[in-house]
Symmetry: C2
Subunit: 348 residues, 2 copies
DNA sequence: TGACTTTATTTGATCGATCAAACTTTTCTT
DNA sequence: AAGAAAAGTTTGATCGATCAAATAAAGTCA
């Protein structure tokens, strides 16, 4: 025994066979108690650690999940995915799963990577983020029978209930509905919304949350509501511009809700009246400047992803399709309320 | 051939032996050109992909590097490590290396993970972040002959030139020196510095950059300089407090430099005089609010790390110790100057 | 007790690739 | 052109674990 100890070494030391050692590690139940203890002692004694690659070669599974690390975009909202990655890694670790990162320049390139990692038995499955309508990646994975779970629901028409597409998502509707309610309960009537142009899966959901809550209360007529809504692309300066426009055209404002923290930060900058502003994503920026925000609860998302991936359907996408356990999780976000602290700022 | 094609399948198809196929992939030089083409055609034809785990079992190397994903701290500065991770993954991918994530609850736990991943042939080496004085991790890795590179120089007394400790770091001194110079060139004389308590490896470096630049110019006496310096722990509100204190006790302020973007953001909040504030890390927050900041150039850091890891010394830490190629890289950061945009804000 | 299960353990084969050494072909010497 | 050296290719063994099937031990029942 020159290098690290192997099963054979342990078997020899414990006076049993290789297979028994293997059984102690993988199916302890079928080994008699006293034998098991002897083997466990030998394992400890020799400091034995199973050779992961050898095991993978034989079992054809790697206990590793692959996830693509998206390129950094603006940075503010990008941190949500980073936080998700943290949560995922932490929880995967706790289950003995490893997380392998990779990058890709396009969806097609990403598919190439899927193939490479899957064929090499590098990973057992994938976690996808940033899904979009007509996403070729999910189609390819399904066609090739590779396990995966998406963070983000499928936005295609009839994909939502595709039994082969497991997904976890955050209920943006509920998030904005709650945020709107919170402002209403605090006495606000005229609550504006700065959102993204349609069609945008997530954006439309969030907008609807605000819209429904407003309509339910009925404080504002439908026509007035239209004046309280502004559509713009994401970004801090866009938020500032939108807020300026609202102040000029929307009449009195009791509160402003935004589709993202970037927009919210921008809105705060042009907010001398100190109207309460609420963002979305609860990014570090929101925490730093004391901005209320809707928190996506990445921990719960990560838990859901792993649950689906390793659960009844997870080992293999095609496993046990007859069961009727739900194939997705819709997480309700949490509203984080912060004092309207060191803000507002003045436009120079 | 039921499953995926193997070397044997390719060999059969190309009319050569397994080993020749293997040679085509690993040492193309020793295979005759026409044979090689035939094999390559067969590989393409069959869509053959080598089985990563099998290869690892045999070669005892994995082409994978492990990196611990630090727990999220405050979030603002934490994004530097996330950006580094992005850069590392991207560049590792380009070199055919994979990045495996893991988490740990303490340095000792991290060492346990090192052992597990190393023994299982899961990784060839590690990238460490957030090193500190007397770090047990580097000692353990050196003692066990495991390859690693740290992002962050060793802070122990005589470790800096330890030939077994490869490291890459950003020259904080140069960063603050340049930032100070930039303000001086713009006409500023009385430049304050908000930093961290000593001893702090990185913090002390940065402070010294400011201090040296101030002394070189000689606009301010040493006693006055002491009044222009404030020491505090990191955080947005600490930055606000420090700025308030400076305004009360330090006399006229022409500019303020901070050890972090968190402090800088805080400083800006208590900055009605619109004194130029410069942060450190060039985080998304700095970009969003239009704050000048020192950029750590994570791309260069990542390149340096990979270079050291895969280079002459990288394959094995103990490899070729007789060469005199430098065993570390000191990256010069870049000052990112931004207009003092939508800020300042007023304290309510 | 002896035949018959059930439970526990062992043996031989295998996963897919590469290493090391043997072997064959080509190229170089003189 | 014969013999030596170099280049190219093939064969058998091996990495460390698990699977599948065979064997041994323990427990059950008439």
């Amino acid at each position: 025994m020159s290098g690290l100890p192997t099963v054979t070494d342990v078997a020899l030391a414990a006076g049993v066979s290789r297979q028994t050692v293997s059984n102690v590690m993988n199916s302890p139940g079928i080994v008699r108690a006293d034998t098991r203890e002897r083997v466990e002692a030998a394992i400890k004694e020799l400091g034995y650690r199973p050779h992961a690659s050898a095991r993978r070669l034989r079992t054809r599974r790697s206990s590793t999940i692959g996830i693509r690390l998206d390129p950094m975009i603006d940075g503010i909202s990008g941190s949500v995915l980073d936080r998700f990655l943290h949560a995922l890694t932490e929880q995967a670790d706790a289950q003995g799963l490893r997380v392998l990162l990779f990058t890709a320049t396009s969806p097609d390139d990403e598919i190439t990577q899927f193939q490479r990692l899957n064929d090499g038995a590098d990973v057992d499955g994938f976690v996808l983020t940033s899904t979009f309508a007509g996403d070729p990646r999910t189609q390819w994975l399904i066609a090739n029978g590779i396990s995966f779970v998406t963070f983000g629901r499928p936005w295609g028409d009839d994909d939502l209930n595709d039994p082969q597409h497991l997904w976890v998502d955050v209920d943006g509707w509920a998030g904005l509905h709650e945020a709107t309610r919170a402002q209403q309960d605090a006495g606000a009537r005229r609550i504006a919304y700065i959102g993204w142009p349609s069609p945008s899966g997530t954006g439309d959901e969030r907008r609807r949350g605000w819209y429904d809550a407003m309509m339910e209360r009925g404080d504002v007529s439908a026509e007035e509501l239209a004046r309280l809504e502004i559509v713009t692309t994401d970004g801090v300066s866009q938020g500032t511009a939108a807020m300026t426009e609202l102040r000029q055209n929307a009449g009195r404002l009791d509160a402003v809700l935004c589709a993202s923290d970037s927009l919210a930060l921008g809105a705060m900058i042009a907010n001398p009246g100190r109207v309460p502003v609420t963002g979305y994503d609860n990014t570090p920026v929101a925490a730093a400047v004391g901005l209320s925000s809707v928190d996506q609860a990445v921990d719960e998302v990560a838990a859901g992803v792993l649950d689906l991936l390793t659960g009844e359907f997870g080992g293999r996408v095609h496993g046990a399709p007859e069961s009727d356990e739900p194939r997705h999780r819709l997480i309700t976000p949490r509203l984080v309320v912060r004092e309207f602290a060191a803000i507002p700022m003045d436009v120079p």
